[in-house]
């Protein structure tokens, strides 16, 4: 089973990299870009076949290492 993890910055956390990307898009002539927030995408290949157990496992991985919950949220997608 594969887990797809999206890690995003919480609302209110300043994202200077996202702001720089938005600025660069404007420079390239892309108008109407209101805001850019940069995050991370992580794919994990798991032995686990049981969806509930896999979800629990990846949830712990996120809380312990993959995300820093002081500033980041995470969302987990499981794919067979």
């Amino acid at each position: 089973m594969k887990a797809r993890v999206h890690i995003t910055l919480k609302n209110g956390v300043l994202d200077p990299q996202g702001r720089a990307i938005a600025h660069a898009l404007g420079t390239l002539g892309f108008g109407g870009v209101n805001d850019v927030r940069q995050g991370k995408y992580i794919e994990i290949d798991l032995d686990e076949r049981d969806k509930a157990k896999a979800k629990q496992q990846v949830d712990q991985m996120c809380a312990k290492l993959l995300a820093n919950t002081v500033i980041e949220n995470y969302a987990i997608d499981l794919v067979d």
Binding site: V13, L14, P16, Q17, A20, K64, L65, N68, V70, I71
Partner: protein, 229 residues
């Protein structure tokens, strides 16, 4: 005083830290490799600056979960002194020894220069040889030194006297232009609640000889030696 320095792949200030501790203690600290699971019997652990594990995932995140850091954390919880400098500060916050996190500098630039720091308290084993309100000149060299925590945590840090150093002007004034990285409330260094752990972005180990342009870092090491000998 006996001290150890924890070395990770990618650490690069461990020799500077060794020189500063040797100068202050009159003996060399023990270098501990990150794969070691046993920490020698010491009074102080220094986590040095650098780019442990190439800053993969988040600065300090991988090092924070190494076996030796678990041991450092366990001893710190029992009262052993720990100081994390620069990447070491990032590592010990990721390990949960200190609240908050160090984000990318607000300017997005790597900042490498001497900055002014105000000593917020001399009531700690790390700062007893300074005067409260004293302004120091100490170098910074980092890309991710922008201290962040939620407002409640910041209020708690302030009301508990856990702010150790703040970025300031040569006259000790606080303003955005004297803050090299956008750090919340100009914070450059903080203690844990029991004040046996200090994390700071500036490099006191690089301000110990007149040749380096400042000797303002010496008193920090002298404070630790006095408290822990």
């Amino acid at each position: 005083m006996k001290a150890a320095i924890v070395v990770f792949p990618g650490s690069n200030r461990e020799r500077d830290a060794e020189a500063a501790l040797t100068q202050a203690m009159g003996r060399k600290p023990i270098m501990v490799w990150h794969r070691d699971t046993e920490l020698p019997d010491v009074d102080l652990v220094l986590v040095p600056g650098g780019f442990s594990y190439g800053d993969y995932l988040r600065c300090g995140a991988i090092a924070a979960h190494s076996p030796i850091l678990r041991e450092v954390k366990a001893r710190a919880d029992k009262g052993m002194a720990v100081i994390g400098v620069c990447n070491g500060f990032q590592i010990i916050t990721e390990a949960g020894l200190l609240p908050g996190i160090l984000l990318r500098n607000a300017s997005l630039k790597f900042v490498c220069r001497n900055v002014r720091l105000k000593v917020e308290t001399s009531q700690s084993l790390f700062t007893s040889q300074y005067e409260q309100g004293q302004v120091l000149s100490i170098p910074v060299a980092h890309h991710d030194g922008n201290y962040f925590a939620d407002d409640r945590t910041l209020d708690e840090l302030e009301s508990n006297g856990q702010v150790a150093f703040r970025y300031c002007s040569p006259d000790g004034e606080f303003a955005d232009e004297h803050n090299p990285n956008g750090s919340a409330r100009n914070i450059a260094g903080i203690f844990n609640r029991t004040k046996n752990v200090l994390g700071l972005m500036p490099h006191p180990e690089n301000a110990i000889e007149p040749l380096q342009g400042s000797v303002d870092g010496k008193a920090l090491f002298a404070s630790m030696v006095e408290a822990l000998s």
